[in-house]
Symmetry: C2
Subunit: 486 residues, 2 copies
Amino acid sequence: MTDPSNPQAALEQLHEQLGDCVETSFEQREDHSYDGLKISCLPDAVIRVKEDSQVGMALKIANEYSIPVTTRGAGSSLTGGATPIQGGWVLDLSGLNNLTVDQKNQVARCGPGVVIADLQAEAAKDGLFYPPDPSSKKFCTIGGNIACNAGGLRCVKYGVTRDYVLALEGYLANGEKVRWGRATRKFATGYNLRDLWVGSEGTLGVVTQATLRLIDLPMFTRTFLGVFESDEVALSSPNELRKLGLRPSILEYLDQWTIDCLQKYVGTEVFPGVDPKPMLLIELDGSEREVEEHSIDLTKWMKSRALAFRSASTADEAEKIWDVRRQGSSSMKKLASTKLNEDVVVPLDKQVELVQCVDGLREKFGIKIGVFGHCGDGNLHVNLMYDEENAEETTRAVAALKELMSRVIELGGAISGEHGVGLAKTPFVREQFNQAEWSAMLAVKQALDPNNILNPGKIFDVFNPWEQKKIPVILSWEHENEEPKP
Amino acid sequence: MTDPSNPQAALEQLHEQLGDCVETSFEQREDHSYDGLKISCLPDAVIRVKEDSQVGMALKIANEYSIPVTTRGAGSSLTGGATPIQGGWVLDLSGLNNLTVDQKNQVARCGPGVVIADLQAEAAKDGLFYPPDPSSKKFCTIGGNIACNAGGLRCVKYGVTRDYVLALEGYLANGEKVRWGRATRKFATGYNLRDLWVGSEGTLGVVTQATLRLIDLPMFTRTFLGVFESDEVALSSPNELRKLGLRPSILEYLDQWTIDCLQKYVGTEVFPGVDPKPMLLIELDGSEREVEEHSIDLTKWMKSRALAFRSASTADEAEKIWDVRRQGSSSMKKLASTKLNEDVVVPLDKQVELVQCVDGLREKFGIKIGVFGHCGDGNLHVNLMYDEENAEETTRAVAALKELMSRVIELGGAISGEHGVGLAKTPFVREQFNQAEWSAMLAVKQALDPNNILNPGKIFDVFNPWEQKKIPVILSWEHENEEPKP
């Protein structure tokens, strides 16, 4: 019999079986003690996985000794999804980055450590395209994207990560190998544990190989930027454009507050002579003919609805338009030490009410809040800015956040559209579900991970990130410009 | 304390709470004792549900007394998914057929009893489209489509049922109300029990309301029929058409054997002067301009690859092309008393090997087998014909079926692409999964239905349909022509 309360014995077995993949130096443990949320919890060991089977071996031991296991790729989670909040072992899968594109079956097979931008580049060589593109795509990995069912800019036309996952291989909490789904579009045989794993944030299993559907690479794009009199007009775009037969590949909204902030920051007006007003950034894609034809219709719509607009068909011109989106975010960060980026989602026709709710929160709590994001999906990012050193301001920000989340749920939406719950949203997730739903989710967790070793502390246990001191680290990608780029 | 072995007490409570929704006449019970598989098992009672909450009330009692509950819509399942194989109660949801189309959010909300064709007709009034279209769409209901993740003709371009389910409301086995997902395209909050329910064949919960994503209704179509020298050429079409930038809305294959059978049946050749050879039925859809432009490219491809072809742009002309598909199926039914329609699916590039496998089975077992179906998805329907009164022939057919299923799994496919396992595929489903996968599925079942009351006997328990006598009933839709029609 093994002693479940003997982590030292577990670690010895791990060393024995996995050899120098297991790292226990303080430096390695510290390096793997935090993610994009920047809250640090030291793990006992880091396992740098070199082959699939090592995941099974590590999990078998961890399950026997009830050791918490936190799976990690790039560690770019903004919600703390890869923070080893209960210590234990960190399973670093960034080394499992094999990648092959199967052109005949229009699929990619990749390890969880494959970076999204690399996957897109490899697919493009065969004229193929993997559409989900979170703004972190240059460094985030497919494993994390599957864990939180990542979205991004182009979901309005192409859907989210889940829509591209055909099959998953990996390990159950007990270390046994499983495969869910097949490299086929249709599958109606047994329970769909593939889609249960997608979005389960590493709490139900560990993915070691994903088979992803690819589509044809759109060859041409045209980018538009327009400014609108009101939120009502800007946020009517998803429905109005649809009625015109237009299916933009990107449909991004920036609120008046964000534009005001960015104009003050850069010192010039985006549209000279136009006061800060809501804007839309729209991309059309497809064949040259399609883009040309749809551009004519979109131009007509812009002329009838926008106060001013411009468009770009070359990469250089498009860059200038994207600068507006990038600077919007950068300028906000100058306003406060902490920016809480909440990826809430509401039905398309409730977006105006969401923006009105935010107006009320700014006034009631005196907090700076900028709203921008994917209005084609109802997935607006609400960014609350406050100084975490200021206890009183923090209290106000948290109160505003709570009201925001309640309102989102009231409007028939969800508190997370693409980042997942992780640690950051645990104070609000309970409100999203009734008791029966909550119990059913816990029963599924218990069924697939009876010893609660997989990413424990996430989703279900309340953790208030604002009560924790963030570590003053600058992540490798924070040196570069990490803002979205098409 | 209730007595779980006292079905009479349970039935009394049911009568008390649900009044005249509960029917126990022999006639009603017999009417609900079978589905499209035509194997009859008498239930103790039929519950004709009039409102959502009655489902919860019935399940609460059933769960307390461990009464088997089989949920049913139209009862058109070909796999026995709605057969009350263990008796108990049949929950007839065909009366829950409320339907509203929300044009602003591009969704439909419907009860499980809504017939697919009615949903499509209602959506079309607002220029919207619900794409999954099983060939039974004139009578099958959305509840059953969700239960087996139904596909159909247009999945090659538009995806399957799962791709259109945004949210589900319903009841857990214990009678508690739950809601999974929201009327939003993105959702990354908690476990995805929505997609776990989809395809779980009524064994994990009962759906009482579905929110479905709708897309723009394609306004124009053009239909092509071509005959090809070999299976290799015909089955290269998915990849070749993709490379030409063509995305057919329908891409159906009929094998040489099926064509031969139909030509003998109708007495004329589909393409005069051309011997029986594999054929493709292809539909393009979209705007008038798109269809015109893509027709030019498809015509070029047909000229270079087909022995002969024709196309239709009017409904009447298309009817004649569809007659070929319909007669293929009708003529097969004349050949034997029993036709086993197996909806297997393999990766796109394994379809030729699947067809070769069927050639081998015909020879080895002396069984008549016709193959036709959705080659754009790798979802070919393999139809085995035999006389169920002939024990020796039945044995050969079953042996051929077993070999087929093993080969499908070997090729990386699945034994069911769109019909589900039900009863009919239980002899083969175990081979699809390893022990860990099988145990994980059973653990999920145990977690969500601990008393095993929901559709017991399906998916997991072996049932050999060929050992059962089928009842000589003609289903209401069998009087009409039930073959696929676009």
